[in-house]
């Protein structure tokens, strides 16, 4: 089955981020979206550790340990960017001031429930960070994930079996096969990115798809 690469997925998400939006990109795969935002589009990137107007990685040798992103990687600040403390940073999320957040996921349920912080395995050390605040706070929560697990199971599920990050928070899902909207009627196919038919997508998706 033909799949989008990680960069192709990021480019597809970037298409849907409008000029002028305030966006938080989660750690991991969503971080790649920043590389695909067109230069002429002004998008304000928020990082939970206290900056708005995050720029790209610095040139080698220009790293500053006091200027990092949520993944603890060195970053830069755009002209006009700002620093603030953690309570203000999370007020921006919880208060509904972010337009979009893009998060990775273990599972998304047909009703928009999200599981992305903990597998619940007995030997796993849980770590939640800002995932729960982001999921409930942004005006729209996008999920970006592989369509299938490594063992070939659908990550879009009737109900999450992993512990929830937040109930009913996901509005749109981008996988390496397709784009879906979570609607009141169910999971709606928006775009088949690699040319699969609805029936072919349905065969690898554990919930009924709406055309």
């Amino acid at each position: 089955m033909k799949r989008l690469s990680r960069d192709q997925m990021a480019a597809r998400v970037a298409q849907d981020i409008p000029d002028g939006s305030v966006v938080n990109l989660g750690i991991g795969l969503p971080t790649l979206v920043a590389n695909h935002l067109p230069a002429e589009r002004e998008v304000l990137l928020h990082s939970e550790n206290g900056l708005l107007g995050m720029g790209p990685a610095p040139a080698p040798g220009a790293e500053d340990g006091d200027l990092i992103n949520a993944g603890k990687q060195p970053v830069t600040l755009q002209l006009g960017g700002a620093y603030f403390h953690s309570a203000d940073s999370f007020a921006m999320m919880r208060g509904g001031h972010l337009d979009i957040c893009v998060l990775g996921a273990f599972q998304v349920a047909a009703n928009g429930d999200l599981a992305n912080w903990h597998t619940g395995a007995p030997d796993a050390i849980p770590a939640v960070g800002g995932a729960m605040d982001l999921a409930i706070g942004a005006k729209r929560t996008f999920v970006m994930m592989e369509h299938l697990t490594k063992s070939g199971e659908s990550k879009i599920v009737p109900a999450c079996t992993y512990p929830l990050t937040a109930p009913c928070c996901v509005s749109r899902i981008y996988t390496d096969l397709a784009v879906f909207d979570i609607t009141a009627a169910g999971v709606k196919l928006v775009e088949a990115c690699t040319g699969l038919s609805l029936a072919e997508l349905q065969a690898v998706t554990a919930v009924p798809l709406i055309a």
């Binding site: 990082s47 939970e48 550790n49 206290g50 900056l51 500053d64 340990g65 006091d66 200027l67 990092i68 603890k72 600040l77 620093y83 603030f84 403390h85 953690s86 309570a87 940073s89 999370f90 999320m93 919880r94 030997d123 050390i125 849980p126 770590a127 939640v128 960070g129 800002g130 995932a131 729960m132 605040d133 409930i136 706070g137 512990p163 929830l164 990050t165 937040a166 109930p167």
Partner: protein, 221 residues
């Protein structure tokens, strides 16, 4: 005359008792007051409860305090990282208690303590296992969880510049939890890289007003 500056880091750390709750600023390494943590290890207080966003990186700073066996409990949002091996080993061995708190709730619980708020309803965590056992309420159709303030005996924070009244400014994303912890602790100890005279910090730009700070000590960059 008010002068909160102390001549050396040992004097700055004096009096921290066994069993104290100690807030430590920083997000990973940014804003982590490494010199104050090293001095806390040397000072010897034990059975500490630590409040930090993480649970130590590598083998230095907070990780070294954990490794020295001084911490009985940690309250944090993101303990597990690629270089959190010290915490991971203690946790798996059952030698440290973990209270996991979503990061925004952690920040707001610390702020609430400093601001005299007795608790607050937040949507973060509602409907998840991190809300287990907590009071919930539906307000205007949305679910919220009652969260309580987190206060502390001591806060160790890192700032950039300070004056003898304890006014502070920070540097870039090293600010993170520092201003909140300064508000929430009975004794806030700040390290700075530069002492300045009263009036040299722009009053429009002071981030932590001096009343939240009890001791300031200068450390090398």
């Amino acid at each position: 005359m008010i002068d909160k500056r102390l001549p050396d880091i040992e004097a700055a750390l004096a009096g921290i008792a066994d069993g104290a709750t100690v807030m430590i600023g920083g997000f990973g390494g940014a804003g982590q007051p490494a010199e104050l943590i090293d001095a806390l290890i040397a000072q010897g207080a034990r059975e500490l409860t630590i409040v930090n966003n993480n649970a130590g990186n590598g083998e230095t700073g907070l990780a070294a305090l954990l490794k020295a066996g001084r911490v009985k409990k940690i309250i944090c949002s993101f303990p597990r990282q690629v270089d959190s091996q010290v915490f991971d080993a203690l946790y798996r061995a059952g030698r440290i208690e973990l209270e996991l708190v979503p990061q925004g709730n952690l920040a707001e619980r610390i702020r609430a303590a400093g601001a005299g708020i007795g608790g607050f309803f937040t949507p973060t965590g509602y409907g998840t296992e991190l809300a287990t056992g907590k009071e919930t309420r539906v307000i205007d159709g949305r679910g919220y969880v009652l969260e309580s303030p987190i206060d502390a005996d001591v806060a160790l924070i890192k700032a950039e510049r300070g004056d003898r009244w304890g006014n502070l400014v920070y540097r870039k994303t090293a600010r993170n939890f520092g201003p909140l912890m300064a508000m929430a602790a009975q004794l806030t100890i700040a390290s700075v890289h530069e002492f300045v005279e009263l009036g040299e910090l722009d009053p429009e730009a002071i981030v932590t007003p001096g009343l939240f700070v009890q001791r300031v000590v200068k450390v090398k960059r």
